[in-house]
Amino acid sequence: MENIYLTIVLAPLVGAVIAGFFGGSIGRSWSHWVTSTGVGISTLLSLYVLKGFMFDNAEVFNGSVYTWMVSDGINMEVGFLVDQLTAVMISVVTFVSFCIHIYTIGYMADDEHNWPKTSLAGRNSYQRFFSYISLFTFSMLMLVMSNNFLQLFFGWEAVGLVSYLLIGFWSVRPTAIFANLKAFIVNRVGDFGFILGIAAIAMYTNSLDYAEVFAKAPGLADTQIQIWGDSSWSLMSVIGILLFIGAMGKSAQVPLHVWLPDSMEGPTPISALIHAATMVTAGVFMVARMSPLYEFSETALSFVLVIGATTAFFTGLIGIVQNDIKRVVAYSTLSQLGYMMVALGASAYAAGIFHLMTHAFFKALLFLAAGSVIIGMHHDQDIRNMGGVRKYMPITYWTSLLGSLALIGFPFFSGFFSKDAIIEAVHHSTIAGSTYAYWLVLAGVFVTALYSFRMFFLVFHGEGPRDEHAKEHIHESPKVVTVPLILLAIPSVFIGYLTIDPILFGDWFKDVLYVLPEHDTLAAVQAIVHSGNGMLAHTYASPAFYLAMAGLGLAFYIYMLNPALAEKIKSTLSPLHTLLDKKYWFDEAYQAVFAAGSRGLGKFLWLAGDRGLIDGLAVNGSAYSVGWLASVVRHLQSGYLYHYAIAMILGLLLLLTWFVFL
């Protein structure tokens, strides 16, 4: 089995290396063939692994590949842990990645137009793009298959690197290279907490291996540590919160969410793959993987819950006022990531992973559909210029509709099961903050439906496109674009219904996700609805369903029946609109405080400290004082004999006085 796991990881890496280093000489089609084949192999093998767990009672694999380093008794290894959670993750990652490789062949086909003619960097950009997305797949697989914290951190940062490279892919655009720097640094703020969390684990367990750490966790549940003065903290809370700060960076939770909307500067395929379906869910995966630690700290769980709920609701609101098609989807991603975090905070880890999975499919679908519309509109991304696209792009239209229904949680669609499970689980949670979270995620359902269908109606229905030139040229995208849409639409509709029973109410995650009995909110949900069919039958009793319908209805009324109303609402609620349009002024505040603040501090330390005190006063000051002393003493060396003679006589007299009188 070990060879299979190695192949899953290495096949995309090999593709990335070939396309990256030899892309120029092997040409475009070989580059996309070699990378797609690599990821294709991984996809098939991942599904094979998944099948093993589903039908053949496969054994959990936990083994090391090689020893990275041994220092001070801590064994740092590179190794794999393949269990049910890993199997789900690698299947989702490789499948979505494979769809996106194919889609990219169409989307990036004429990428040279995005570069200045003279730019040599634009010459092999197509090959380079394939190399990057394969490299991303490798990094993500390393992250989810890891059996230790070191490799987790490696994958964690490696996906950050690829994200950096891809957001700034069109490096001649000032906005793109601003966005990628911002993304990297904000992620580093998260990693700052993450690495401290790992350091705390290493200190108290003397190990970085999951199995060993988890085994020691119950014994450390009551450990208290002092951080500031005499106030003592539960060790588990400290570890949980520090690790979660990492997750807040990677999974773009408030207040570290600011990088994700800007990341839309990258090409659409990676917005779908990295900034929607996979990388940003790494934080969710990580917390679920660490459930044996989080379970021992209600403080940390509450923290996760409150941050998640805040993100889910307040970023969703921003989505309502955005006009860039990709940014609407981006805010929707933020909001859905918040839902996943809420699930984790309520100890419904399985529901979090379940929503991660369904969301990966329908959000990748929505992004790719948005990309397809963007191709049709000749890279105009403003939804106010669109409209009527339905007539020209039927496949894109229908798949978008399916994706949107899944997103708002329309009954039977995959999002229905995963989102309702989360809401119900929070409802049963009793930890601090759960009431706050419950009302926010519930209200979030209405918001989700509103922004989703606002965009849907504006893009696909009504009159348009506004621009006559665009209207003449718009047509359905080629097969390499539409086939991935269809491939993703299938699981977007069915995967929830098909897998809810084993994942949420069965024993799929029984040995993987650790839940203390008093936190087991999913069991409480199960007691009421029993199964996926039961959930469908309970639809009428769920407030979420009515809220989603209300959101959908309101969007229909405003944007289909009474288009003038939107402007009227906007002007009546203009302070609210400004607040949302400015995204609560996070960017401006960070820019003023952190960016400008660090530059100011740097300038101050340099000019006052290095230049002023150390160099000015101490170094050059002593040099000058030596010079000054020399210039004074120099006058003694006058060169006149009688000066020296008188000095000798005076000295002699002094010495004599000394000897005679003392």
């Binding site: 990275w68 041994v70 220092s71 730019s119 001649v172 990297f184 540590i225 740097g602 150390i614």
Partner: protein, 483 residues
């Protein structure tokens, strides 16, 4: 040989220099492969009397602490020779000769076990570097050389006094003998401070670091590379070979001072680096911040030993050592990257560049790679040492780790902001538009360093293994009080 042949046959002398440098590297490889990593005692020992009337001996030997640094020296030198191949037009033979002399002297510093011999090498090191900056340097080179010379010389004079004092106490110049020499706390503190002055200037630690940015800015590329990659390490090496084992109690008493200076280096210097306009200055400040991890790793051992009954201290020392080797690769590579640009446009100012990747895509890839390594990306060598030191410093105190870990943010910010302004963006001026991508010579040099950075990042185990016995021996030694 190189000097004697003069500048008339410049090509022949360059080849001679290169062949000798590569041969030296090959000759030094057995040190690694024949090294017995199970013992902490000195290996490959040579010991003959030198100046018998003063008991000075030619006494050389290496252990797991000095060996990696010697290999680093012999590895970097050929690259420096290649890097200076076409660039140095003025007196190339003397230039090459200066670097070969430099190499020999630095290897001498790392392997000397006789205090006088060490001191001779230590001071001799200044001469070629003084000439390299003074002759082949930039416009303000005279100020920089004088500052460099006085700074380092001032520090080392006190070290000489300490060494001679210990000679009178022990009757020999044997450094290993000093390790077991009984000294009371006052003596130890005075000796510690004397060493500190010498080593802190070399590392350099805040606040005696201001010579470094000036020296780097004025030095030719090769000079900067040797300075950053190897000479700074001699300060770190000094702490391990002298300060910690000879004056363990003083080191313990004053560890707060070193830790404080190290953390200031990491945070304060990080912010200073952020606003530099000159690429070389920025990398110089980044060097100071990264070397802060080295001294931090070395001096948290006492606190860890108290807190944790001894376990976890090796992580810090080994992390510091790994950081030194890694910084040798990365800072060398970054200075060479700046050199590549400087050779073409004769400017080190960030604002004179922008959009370089459009005309130099291969160079852009290297620059981003080394920048990421400098920012401590896992998988590159820059991560390994920082990770180990952060893990270790958490054992000493949460806030040490907290401050040290800020480098994740600040380091990424100053490095990548520079990359953004230099490499990315649209072509900003005609100079950049006319740039030609790297030639084969530059490709070989940066490619070799990239391979080293990647190898050490993906598999640091061998490096940690060779130093393991020596580091543990050192820790056992300093755990015993001399009082």
């Amino acid at each position: 040989m190189v000097l004697a042949s003069g500048d008339r046959e410049a090509n022949a002398t360059k080849w001679t220099a290169l062949i000798i440098a590569i041969l030296t590297f090959i000759v030094s490889l057995p040190l690694w492969f024949a090294f017995d990593s199970s013992t902490s005692s000195m290996q490959f020992v040579e010991r003959v009397p030198w100046i018998p009337s003063f008991d000075v001996e030619y006494y050389m030997g290496i252990d797991g602490i000095s060996m990696p640094l010697i290999i680093l020296t012999t590895f970097i030198t050929p690259l420096v020779v290649i890097a200076g191949w076409e660039v140095i037009k003025y007196r190339p033979s003397q230039y090459m000769a200066a670097f070969l002399i430099m190499e020999g002297v630095m290897v001498g510093v790392f392997s000397a076990l006789d205090a006088m011999l060490f001191y001779v090498f230590w001071e001799a090191m200044l001469i070629p570097m003084f000439l390299i900056i003074g002759i082949w340097g930039g416009a303000n080179r005279v100020y920089a050389t004088i500052k460099f010379f006085l700074y380092t010389f001032l520090g080392s004079v006190f070290m000489l006094v300490a060494l001679i004092y210990m000679y009178f106490q022990s009757g020999s110049f044997d450094i290993l003998g000093y390790h077991t020499l009984k000294l009371d706390l006052t003596e130890q503190i005075l000796i510690f401070i004397a060493f500190l002055l010498a080593f802190a200037v070399k590392v350099p630690m805040w606040p005696v670091h201001t010579w470094l940015p000036d020296a780097h800015v004025e030095a030719p590329t090769g000079g900067s590379v040797v300075l950053a990659a190897i000479m700074l390490k001699i300060g770190g090496y000094g702490f391990l070979r002298f300060s910690l084992p000879i004056t363990p109690d003083a080191s313990h008493t004053l560890d707060w001072l070193i830790i404080g200076m190290s953390l200031i280096a990491v945070v304060y210097i990080g912010f200073v680096a952020l606003i530099q306009q000159d690429m070389k200055k920025l990398i110089a400040y980044s060097s100071i911040a990264h070397m802060g991890f080295v001294t931090l790793g070395f001096f948290i051992v006492f606190i860890i030993s108290q807190n944790n009954a001894g376990s976890g201290a090796a992580l810090g020392v080994q992390g510091g050592m790994v950081q030194m080797v890694s910084h040798g690769f990365i800072s060398a590579a970054l200075f060479l990257c700046v050199g590549v640009l400087y050779d073409r446009l004769h400017s080190r100012e960030i604002k004179d560049y922008g959009g370089v990747v459009n005309t130099m895509p291969v160079f852009g890839a290297f620059m981003v790679f080394f920048a990421m390594a400098n920012a401590g990306l896992p998988g590159t060598s820059g991560f390994v040492g920082e990770f180990m030191v952060i893990l270790a410093s958490f054992r000493a105190d949460f806030w040490y780790a907290f401050l040290a870990a800020t480098t994740l943010i600040i380091g990424a910010a100053y490095t990548l902001w520079m990359v953004k302004r230099v490499v990315f963006g649209d072509v900003t001026n005609e100079g950049v538009a006319a740039l030609e991508d790297m030639n084969q010579r530059e490709y070989i040099v940066l490619g070799t360093l990239a391979a080293a950075v990647l190898l050490l990042g993906l598999w640091p185990a061998p490096l940690v293994e060779v130093m393991d016995a020596s580091v543990n021996n050192l820790l056992q030694h300093i755990a015993v009080s001399k009082l």
